[in-house]
């Protein structure tokens, strides 16, 4: 890969704090272009915060984020962000297709309204997550899994180089999990870079080829085969981890 030398995402000396105590502390991370990386760590490790800092949604105390070598804020829009669905107010008066079309707003620019090409893009994205038949239903009428697929389709409509997903597998049904995995496969085939905050240790090796173990600092990061070890998991999660690691090892 020719772009292989410039990391897709490069985080350097990142420190983030909410009202005093640091959530992320002097964190360094490189995500190579075209990889599928899981960010794994205990509750409160700063996983979501890391994603938000990469997106430039929160201002770090110190440190820098570079996307393909450029400062993060300059290339906004080239990263597609899938937030945790629970953070949104789903009782909003609109239909599924309209939410997915939001993915095209960045390209459109000010004052221009989405038209037929944008709708076509959104419909294709809905097809990818197998939600086409729900296009004209109000978003309030959907299950958690379907909401997750709507948000994923919105990110796909953005047609970005990098995808950042915050806990997409959290509490979703089986068809949704399957649909998300297939989309991740498609993105990998297309050479896109995917970073996912993930909580299910049992599926890390199955769904991802890279992993970053996070607990305020990066404990270890690299290929799953060499990084996702029991020792590293214990360092990340602390004492309770024997059970988790044993379970992860058995899968």
């Amino acid at each position: 890969m020719d772009a292989g030398h410039v990391p897709a995402v490069e985080v350097e000396d990142l420190t983030v704090a909410y009202t005093g105590s640091p959530v992320l502390w002097d964190l360094d991370l490189q995500v190579a272009s075209g990889t599928r990386t899981a960010i794994v760590g205990p509750n409160g490790a700063g996983k979501s915060t890391l994603i938000k800092a990469v997106m430039g949604l929160i201002e770090p105390v110190a440190g820098a984020v570079r996307i393909f070598g450029k400062p993060g804020l300059e290339v906004r829009g080239s990263i597609a962000y899938v937030p945790q669905r629970a953070t949104l107010e789903w009782d909003f008066p609109t239909d599924v297709l309209d939410v997915v079309t939001m993915g095209t707003y960045g390209r459109l620019g000010w004052f221009r309204r989405p038209g037929a090409p944008e709708s076509a893009t959104a419909e294709a994205a809905l097809e990818q997550v197998e939600m086409s038949s729900f296009a004209h239903r109000p978003i309030a009428q959907h299950s958690g899994g379907q909401q997750q697929r709507i948000l994923l389709a919105r990110a796909l409509a953005q047609d970005a180089e990098i995808y950042l997903l915050d806990e997409p597998f959290q509490g979703v049904d089986a068809p949704t999990e399957r649909a998300i995995v297939r989309v991740l496969d498609d993105l990998a085939t297309a050479g896109r870079t995917v970073v996912v905050v993930h909580h299910d240790l049992q599926t890390v090796a199955e769904y991802f080829n890279h992993v970053a173990l996070l607990n305020v600092r990066i404990i270890a990061a690299g290929p799953v085969a060499t990084t996702f070890t029991e020792d590293n998991l214990r360092l990340t999660f602390g004492g309770r981890v024997g059970v988790l690691a044993a379970r992860a090892g058995s899968v």
């Binding site: 609109t94 239909d95 960045g106 989405p114 919105r154 399957r178």
Partner: protein, 371 residues
């Protein structure tokens, strides 16, 4: 005399209608963003500004008083933002704090002013509940200008407003200037509330902002129609309140408008299709009759465990029926499970859980064990 009465009514009705329209537009977004209390805090925070403007200028001229109201209203929003950012006090508590402290300060200042010997202060207290009859042509012109600006912003930045309201963080991630748009909308809200102080007053202005949006949400599925309906409700309530209070002697305009709005909200909450209480009561009855699926999936999983070498080994529906309690619709549950991709039947009509179904069943078992 009759022409004069007509003229007053026309000005008041026009003013109240325009106020209703702008309130409906901006209030819709405030309701959707769970910022209903913001209007309340803003209008109450305007009261000390009214009193201070009078103390400084010594006159009751509308313009300096409204500028004073806008200034303390704006300071109120800044204080709310500061509290939320710098402390662990949540947003709604910060709004409550600002509302009561600023309103209390305003009342103290009003009391001090009223104790002064000169007569110039008489009438300042009308800002508490509004005095629509005192509206001037100039006030209505200002309202028309604000309404036009709001309408222009909505037309030009419609998709930006939509993202800001539904998912602000995502809008920022797209590089859309969410912060600036938010500031503009808040500024327009401050101006609207200040203009409404003359008509409906400090205490009731928040109802003017919240009620049209809350009622319109009940009847609509699209943001565009919600905003339009909200503005329509605002206009209708404003105009009919003004007309009603001109017909019935001693009926105050502002409270009448708010009462009409409350009636509309009440009917909407009860009667609206899909979202109204009555409709949802009916829907709940229908939901109760949907087949329960989980027990059937667990039985399928248990059966498949008996065939570890052949996980797709099929089982008769009759077996599942004998395993399940009598009140479970086994066929209905199987169909629903198949739709969810958790179970499948072969050509002979025998059922087995899919790989995903087995995983789902394991997850359920684990959840039960963890409990």
């Amino acid at each position: 005399m009759e022409i004069f009465a007509d003229w007053t009514l026309r000005v008041v009705a026009l003013g109240a209608g325009l106020l209703g329209a702008v309130s409906g537009f901006l209030g819709s977004f405030a309701v959707l963003r769970r910022q209903s209390l913001l209007g309340d805090a803003l209008s109450h925070a305007a009261l000390p500004g009214i009193a201070l403007a009078f103390l400084i200028t010594g006159s009751k001229a509308t313009v300096p008083i409204l500028i004073g109201a806008a200034m303390t209203g704006w300071v109120g929003t800044l204080v709310v933002r500061l509290i939320v950012r710098r402390s662990r006090v949540p947003y709604d508590a910060a709004l409550g704090l600002v509302l009561s402290v600023f309103f209390g300060l305003g009342l103290v200042l009003l009391t001090v002013i009223q104790k002064r010997p000169d007569a110039a202060q008489a009438g300042l207290e009308t800002y508490l509940f509004g005095q629509a009859a005192a509206l001037l042509r100039a006030d209505v012109v200002v309202m028309a200008v604000v309404a036009t600006v709001v309408l222009l912003v909505l037309m030009l930045a419609w998709k930006e407003m939509k993202v800001l309201t539904f998912d602000r963080a995502y809008g920022e991630s797209l590089g859309l200037p969410m912060g600036r748009l938010d500031g503009l909308v808040t500024a327009l809200l401050v101006v609207t509330i200040v203009l409404g102080l003359q008509t409906v007053g400090v205490v009731l202005m928040s109802a003017m902002i919240v009620a049209p949006g809350a009622a319109a949400r009940q009847w609509t599925r699209r943001l565009g129609s919600m905003v339009t309906v909200a503005a329509g409700i605002g206009v209708a309530a404003g105009v009919s309140g003004a007309v009603l209070s001109s017909i019935v002697p001693r009926l105050p305009t502002g409270p009448t408008i708010v009462l009409i709005l409350s009636g509309v909200v009440g009917v909407s909450l009860l009667m609206a299709p899909e979202r109204g209480l009555v409709w949802r009561r009916l829907q709940l009855g229908r939901l109760r009759r949907r087949p329960r699926q989980e027990p059937v999936l667990m039985h399928l999983h248990a059966l498949s465990l008996q065939h570890p070498d052949d996980p797709d080994h099929g089982h008769e529906v009759s077996v599942l029926r004998t395993m399940s309690p009598a009140d479970i619709d086994v066929e209905g549950a199987l169909t629903a499970l198949a739709e969810r991709g958790l179970a499948a039947s072969d050509r002979r009509g025998l059922w087995a859980p899919t790989e995903l179904g087995r995983r789902e069943a394991q997850r359920t078992l684990k959840r039960e064990a963890d409990r």
